[in-house]
Symmetry: C2
């Protein structure tokens, strides 16, 4: 096999597929990037058996072939071969898989492995799909991914629900303390879909997505897999099996108190309050809403804080406690200047949502001892 | 005590003295910043008993007094109190040292400690001194600090020699494998000085120094201490006791091979070679100089690299081995586009130095098995 590329082109391809190279594995072949130039195109693939990425790279095939090369070594060599980006990189391997990577005045020799050892990506039927912009997909992930559960104690909570009904896509994540929901309208109407996509897949894909509003992503669904196709790249991931939580019954539109508040002011005050909280410290932030003023109070072994935020309130006064981190997480990813918070009573979840129902963030309150406030 | 400041002013002062707050200590009072407004000025002090920093902060004294406040808490509160920087911050403490920090709509209460508990900085006679620009001091530190020894096995190697002879300041660091020397000319002639300054002190001071060529630093010397005075800040540090290594006998101007090479090209090739070396891997980089070409070779379990760098050589051909990290460290901080390397034989140190003797970097070679090259 003998291939030449512009350094930028091959480096870009490597960086895309690197996202699917596992950091730890007992199967050393999975630590490789598979270069397939057996046909008329050059394709790079990485696959950790849960998540697989394949991307096409522009280059010249001087001699067809395939090879698997240790991903980190390949990535570092190609990155450091030249500082110009425009330089031509040559990758050549012999029948013993000894591989030469050269550029300008530098030449590397490393040992590759037989491409036949590499596990191909699973085959997915391409009939059941939806289409949306790269920007929308990237945004939807950013606005929900923070509230998946960080560990595996409940597998389903480590993923996100992708539900398509007609021309509506609903994306949901929850971790037992809060629920994040984003609804977006698709350009077309599609067959109904309801799948649970691993959070890791969504995290990695949002790093690769360009975020361009003009470019599209096709998402294909099969029984056990989801496939994202965009630019010259496909990402295939296993789905999480099972029925997702029934969240509709947790969503209520009843409220007694509705407050509108400047997002940045509230966020700054919440940030301030967390100074007095160390990790694993379960100190609640008390929000006291009286008349048109919201007062935030935090008491801990480090000291106390009081802060006032002007609000516009309709309904009853209320005093309610929250884990400030959960409010901060939701407010950080809302782009609106003004947010509206709906509350029923100090035991019921609060809702942060917009008028059009594009986003809904449900957060459970925490108990507090009223006497100590 | 009651003081008001612009947020930026107090925050800047805190950030300066924070450099002397120990991250670990058994004396909890050392984790505090001491605010002294008992006179007509507001001074902040931190002191880890080796290194002490005091800085004056612009503000208004509404009521005189002093207080010690937990450094990290104070720093975080003041930083997050407002996002404007221009807001006024008030710090007020009562006779029980309970302290109120307020700004705009937010108010914090924390428990302070009696300022009397705090250890004052040692008193230094100000008669024996030198003067140089902040820029020069910062540069001299940057260009030598990388070759101090990282741990305490030889205390003297963790510091740097500051030696003044007439109008010459020589700064030296060494770690047993290499020596870095910077010579700079001072504007005036001073009394001879020869002291060893702890590397930690120099690291911290170079973070505080503005790097302004117009602004000066006064450096005062006493038997056991060094004091740096600049802007509104003083930094006092203990010196390392003992006689520094006699480096003059290690410096020789004999050479058999002199090569001039483009610094960036050589550095890029060295960086490339380190891809094949993991930490604690003692693989030497072989430099083979023949005619007007320098060839770099690296062989490791990961593979091999060859690279050519054009050079201008006078003298004999040579093949010599180095730890590539030591060459990289020295080349990174040299600002010249072209560097000159002097070598005698494969067992003797190489010297990277300029014509004027402003810098000298001595690096010991490593043995290599010529048969394996």
């Amino acid at each position: 096999m003998k291939l030449t590329f512009k350094q930028d082109a091959i480096l870009n391809g490597i960086n895309i597929v690197l996202k699917a190279v596992p950091s730890k594995t007992t199967m050393s072949i999975l630590e490789c990037i598979f270069i397939d130039a057996s046909g008329s195109e050059i394709k790079l693939t990485a696959n950790d058996m849960e998540l697989g990425i394949e991307t096409k790279v522009e280059g010249t095939i001087l001699e067809r072939g395939k090879i698997a090369l240790e991903a980190k070594l390949l990535s570092e060599i190609v990155r450091k071969l030249s500082s110009s980006g425009d330089s031509m990189v040559t990758i050549e391997s012999d029948e013993k898989f000894t591989t030469t990577i050269s550029c300008d005045n530098s030449i590397f020799h490393i040992q590759g492995r037989d491409g036949e050892e590499f596990a191909y990506l699973p085959y997915i039927e391409r009939d059941h799909y939806i289409c949306l912009s790269q920007f929308s997909l990237k945004e939807v992930i950013r606005q929900t991914i923070f509230s998946i559960a960080p560990n595996d104690s409940n597998k389903m909570m480590t993923g996100e629900l992708f539900q398509v009904t007609g021309n509506q896509l609903k994306v949901v994540s929850l971790d037992g303390h809060r629920i994040s929901i984003r609804n977006i309208e698709l350009k077309d109407t599609y067959r109904d879909i309801k799948v649970i996509v691993p959070g890791k897949t969504l995290n990695e894909i949002s790093k690769i997505l360009g975020g361009d509003n003009e470019k599209e992503v096709l998402i294909f669904f099969s029984t056990n897999h989801i496939l994202f196709e965009f630019d010259h790249t496909i990402v295939v991931s296993r789905l999480i099996e099972g029925d997702y939580f029934r969240i509709d019954q947790m969503l209520s539109s009843d409220y007694e108190t509705k407050v509108s508040v400047n997002k940045k002011e509230l966020l700054d005050c919440l940030d301030r309050a967390t100074i007095l909280v160390r990790e694993n410290d379960k100190k609640p932030l008390i929000i006291n809403i009286e008349d048109q003023e919201m007062e935030l109070r935090m008491n801990s072994s480090f000291g106390s804080m009081n802060a006032q935020v002007p609000t516009h309130k309709t309904g009853s006064d209320i005093m309610i406690g929250f884990n400030p981190k959960f409010l901060i997480d939701a407010l950080r990813i809302i782009d609106d200047e003004e947010v509206t918070i709906y509350m029923l009573n100090p035991k019921s979840p609060c809702f942060i949502r917009d008028e059009e129902g594009k986003y809904i963030y449900l957060i459970l309150p925490v108990n507090f001892n009223a006497a100590s406030v």
